[in-house]
Amino acid sequence: MTEESWQDGVYAALKGLGVSQIGYVPDAGHARLIERAHADNDMAAVVLTTEEEGIALSAGAWLGGQRTALLMQSSGVGNCINMLSLPINCRMGFFTIITMRGEWGEFNPWQVPMGSATEAVLKAAGVHVRRAERAEEVVEVVSASARLAYDSAIPVAVLLSQRLIGAKVWVK
């Protein structure tokens, strides 16, 4: 399964679950989803200056009866911690898809500390964490995790492993 095809599968799954707002801080691993969201008149695609804005966006959407997904990379998780008190205290569904950096063939050492801490930090903050390692399982993992978030009104994160996404290639 190519990256483009599983990303299209993820987009279809989110649409099928009624997601109508997608907040994002760009990452190459999310590029296709972001492109699809912008091309879709029934989807509000909101570019953020920092990841925690997306948690607040999701909370507002939930208050108004809409479902959201937040797209970010693992380095953005550190920006989100206090804002996670919002969906947790308010019993709101919150769903995020996180592309992992700093764990598989990483070139940039600055990505490693947050990449190594991502899962532990999310769990410590009260987020339910699921992980997809293989292209064949991504759509199923995303779909089940998003349903868990919306139907049980809890915060859920899906980590897309760097092995799945592919390490960023740096060329001089």
Binding site: S20, Q21, A44, V46, V47, L48, T49, T50, E52, E53, G54, I55, A56, L57, S58, A59, G60, A61, W62, L63, G64, G65, Q66, T68, N82, M83, S85, L86, N89, C90, R91, M92, D151, A153
Partner: protein, 195 residues
């Protein structure tokens, strides 16, 4: 230091909330005094009070405004809360969301924590920041006589307003702080289907 009475300002901004295009005004308040002011003006199901999540008020307003395009959303917050979420001014301006307005109660202080001077007392002009981020309509209000006209604009325009209020202490008013309860009653008021 001069400045308007915050309780009088918020009471005027939240006067006759049913007199709003699209129906009852939807209100999100930033943690601390803005939450107390809105509660003191009269508790209502369409008030969503923040007691934390500092820096998030404006973005909650955006998510809500996108989800409820026929309703008007007003975010009322303080200068400290707005400063922490300054990037949101850029994010919201980029959306050109027509049904969202923000009112910042600016006393130049972090009032909740001992009245330390905030950046707005040290040179930052939040209305100018919003303008620089691309907000088409911004305003700064310093006179009580102008608050009534501001109330109308905040219910009809995508306006970012700074209101210079007095840093004087006012009696504390503590509205509901159970987030789950606030969420449930807000969604019920909007008729959002349960689960």
């Amino acid at each position: 230091m001069s400045g308007l009475d915050r309780r009088a300002v918020v009471a005027e901004l939240l006067r006759d909330t049913s007199d709003t295009p699209g129906g009852e005004l939807l209100v999100v308040t930033g943690l601390g005094s803005a939450t107390y002011d809105a509660g003191a003006a009269g508790d209502r199901d369409e008030n969503f009070y923040l007691w934390g999540a500092m820096g998030g008020a404006a973005m909650i307003g955006l998510g809500l405004a996108i989800a409820q395009p026929t309703r008007r959303v007003l975010v009322i917050t303080g200068d400290g809360e707005a400063l922490m979420g300054m990037g949101a001014l850029s994010t919201i301006a980029a959306r050109r969301q027509p049904n969202l307005a923000i009112a910042v109660l600016d006393n130049g202080q972090f009032g909740e924590t001992g009245h330390q001077a905030s950046h707005t007392a040290l040179g930052t002009d939040l209305a100018a920041v919003a303008k620089g981020c691309g907000w088409a309509a911004t305003a700064t209000v310093t006179a009580m006589a102008d608050v009534s006209a501001l109330r109308t604009r905040l219910r009809n325009e995508a306006l970012f307003a700074v209101i210079r209020i007095s840093p004087a202490e006012v009696p504390r008013f503590l509205p509901i702080r159970d987030g789950a309860r606030l969420t449930a009653r807000f969604r019920d008021a909007l008729g959002v289907p349960i689960g």
